[in-house]
Symmetry: C2
Subunit: 211 residues, 2 copies
């Protein structure tokens, strides 16, 4: 990896910057550190990358700015799942990939769609594996990763129609987890009607010139 | 809580917005939702709150914008630890409060400092409790919460000098965890010399007109 790919807007005494550097070091990832003069003048790239807070740390991934230390650590762990996964319950196949995987389905057709479908099911199977024999990704209780992942399932009906498959049949354990989560008022009251999302996806496909 | 305090820049079909709504619902927190017209025109408040990505969700907490769904869920869980903690290993006394607690120490003197010191030790004791009998906040392995928390300890020497106390004596279990983490190359190579931080804090105290 070239050092230019990852650039950290840094300040040596900031524990928030240290969080990011520890996470990068855990992953063995090379990066360039750019020390900011917080008491003198901040760099243009800092003012441009984090215009609201003008705060370090900012991680630039090929120029794309990621802000706020907790968020950057999460981003690093998601981009480099190994070695040393930091959020172990979803070390392999993070929920974020569900949406990307699903996009592969609704944005394609024919042979391409078949490949996207296989990839998508593969992502869910990895998540199933990460859950092990627990009820939730968070263990015995509905937790952070469950919140992140269950929201993604609101689009599953649309994926299933376009991909001609059933998540429950392909990944029964994942299906059970979905049902378990949907029993929670917080989830069932928030997720919209799957049919409405399906209609929305039909519109998106038209906008993207598919079919 | 007044509905005006929390405002969500929302889009009904976005699973990223659903994450935030599920988390708010888990906490039983009231909020106002502002539906954005992503295909027509985005609101000024969205463009202003998230100028880089111009993306929903944005959570406005009394006007202060929090961006990116993972980050917002973390923020909500930190601000409202109960009911239903989402990141259970640090449900009570989140690492973020270490820095705020420490600031109470170095920004004060006299009686005020004594109160700040007690508060700070209380925060560490709660964190100890959250760790239970595990080696790390992440369980058997160094994980996300460990990264977030250990970075904060780089300022402890300064707190100890100004507060005239020793973390290791007050919170021996927390002290053991610190030593365990410091054995990791990723941590020891990143944390700066405590004496340098102490000098930095002396300068900060002068800048703030303390002593």
């Amino acid at each position: 990896m070239s050092k230019d790919e990852l650039r950290l807007l840094d300040f040596w005494a900031s524990p928030f910057c240290m969080r990011v550097k520890i996470a990068l070091s855990e992953k063995g990832v090379a990066y360039a550190s750019q020390e900011e003069d917080l008491f003198g003048g901040k760099s243009d790239v800092l003012l441009k990358s984090n215009p609201i807070y003008e705060k370090v740390p900012v991680l630039l991934d090929n120029g794309k700015p990621i802000v706020e230390s907790n968020n950057i650590v999460y981003y690093i762990d998601d981009k480099y799942p190994s070695p040393n996964p930091l959020l172990p319950s979803c070390a392999y196949g993070r929920p974020v990939h569900i949406f990307e995987g699903g996009m592969g389905i609704w944005k394609s057709k024919g042979e391409e769609l078949e490949i996207a479908k296989k990839d998508f099911i593969e992502i869910l199977k990895k998540l199933e594996g990460a859950m092990g024999d627990k009820d939730y990704f968070g263990g015995d209780n509905f937790g952070y990763v469950d919140v992140i992942a269950i929201a993604m399932t609101s689009w599953f009906h649309a994926y299933e129609v376009f991909g001609d498959f059933k998540v429950e049949q392909e990944c029964p354990k994942f299906g059970c987890w979905m049902k378990r989560c949907l029993k929670r008022e917080s989830v069932s009251s928030v997720l919209p009607d799957p049919e409405k999302i399906y209609q929305c996806v039909i519109m998106l496909r038209k906008m993207h010139g598919i079919e």
